[in-house]
Point group: C2
Chain length 294, copies 2
Amino acid sequence: MKWQSISFDWNQARAFLVTAQEGSLSAAARALGLTQPTLGRQVAALEEALGVTLFERTGRSLILTKAGKELLDHVKSMGEAANRISLVASGQSQEIDGTVCISASDTMSAYILPPILQELRSIAPGISIEIIATNAVSNLQQREADIAIRHVRPEQPDLTARLLRESKARFYASKSYLHRKGRPQSSNELKHHEFIGFEQPDKFLRHFSETDLPLEEKNFKLTTQSGLVGWQLARSGLGIIIMLEEIAEKFPEMEQVLPEAEPFDVPIWLATHRELHTSKRIRLIFDSLAKFLK
Amino acid sequence: MKWQSISFDWNQARAFLVTAQEGSLSAAARALGLTQPTLGRQVAALEEALGVTLFERTGRSLILTKAGKELLDHVKSMGEAANRISLVASGQSQEIDGTVCISASDTMSAYILPPILQELRSIAPGISIEIIATNAVSNLQQREADIAIRHVRPEQPDLTARLLRESKARFYASKSYLHRKGRPQSSNELKHHEFIGFEQPDKFLRHFSETDLPLEEKNFKLTTQSGLVGWQLARSGLGIIIMLEEIAEKFPEMEQVLPEAEPFDVPIWLATHRELHTSKRIRLIFDSLAKFLK
DNA sequence: AGTCAGGTATACAAATATGCATGAAATGGC
DNA sequence: GCCATTTCATGCATATTTGTATACCTGACT
């Protein structure tokens, strides 16, 4: 094997990758926890070493040259390999101390996780836990999180997933709202009510297209991507919102809408990357979450 | 994109890759042009950063741990990407100065190339030329050479190849040998002569299996992987050898065996990696070689 | 037009990594 | 069994890289 061709500075390749993807040296520096001059020098050194101009310096920002574009694919693939290294290494690591990154919806993070985290802290005081509270489905492949709590079946390959249980969700509204607008007696009456939606209204509506609920876009005058904000809006009497029973029951000012109707099934899945499941640390948190969430 | 997972030191990954492949820190240091303490510290730092033990230190040499084996594949793929970066960069580079690495058989290198190199030197004085004289088919993919002169059609993908011409090869022997053993008059008489072979006798014989020459393994008492050594052996009268006409004719003490027989066809191919063919420097040498060898 | 935000390039001090020299341990050959 | 050789680990002077502070540029908005 001839190693000459790979003996350029690999950190410079990393600098190029992140700079190209982030769009500027400064952004790349922030992403990598380095400084802008360092990234600038690394990229310049790589250009020198390869004998290729990667970026056109136009004062304000950098734009990739043709040669830079040609190279970017290969640097990306280097980055993907680096990502796998980090992933597999975390899995192989049998260190019990360290950080575990958990991704969950914001409502789960705010109302379900806190007491569980308390338990986890006493079980494994050496482990730092980072919560990614987002309703976007995080990408476990790209290591945005080590463990994800989800309400849809994880379909990506290379994932270890466990269905913990089926939770129930219902429509809720504040007593003040129901007092003002009246309590609907049948699902048909819902069409005259105001709902608080998640994300884009059309995307959210698709969930209800399978049911026989008469909901249209005009019912969703308020929409947010944040479950917590939506819940606060509902608590303020601004409309009807869907919420897990176990969370809603903690709020006495909130009342079930159509209490006789069947609740919606909401599965609770726990997922991690297959490689990570061999790690003592991840395994411990995964199993404990499974136990407490069940 | 989350960059955290790729922000470990990529040069340490390189250190791990080369160390694992070369089998020792010292060998890796030689390969990379660094020193053994440096490689040792880089590998140790990577183990620290990933929280994984990569090698079992058994005093003399290092052996990969299970975790190390798990990671090696991914580091290899990182190395392959790095290799492609270097390859594409060389192709994109429009610098005329630099080094070009040419691979050719040792006889070609010794008897055909020298006057051509003289020409190249005057055409492009800024280019350094490195000759890899070997009869092993060098791997252009792995960048063992930039340009290869071959006698078989290059079949690997991603290669740009040009058939320069069909050269002729014949059996030759020294006059002293032919005087001593007698000049064979028909191909049938060859079976009583001694031949000098290349590489493993069986491998070499396969080339003649398609012809009707009565050669067997016992005819090849002398074998070498070096064309130059073989030729010297033949010049010393030790046997019959196959050689390109254009080379053999420079040696008046050597004489064609069975001069009426048809010579063998030996194609001369010039090959380079497709990516490299866009480089001014490589292109210049490639085209010049094609011109002079034709 | 002027200001401001956000970007890149450069000078210099501090932190970091590298190479050299050397010691210790283990393998292979005599 | 011993010696020669090869390999990994460590201390220290040096070389390199990094970060801080700053100057300078560009494009957007008032």
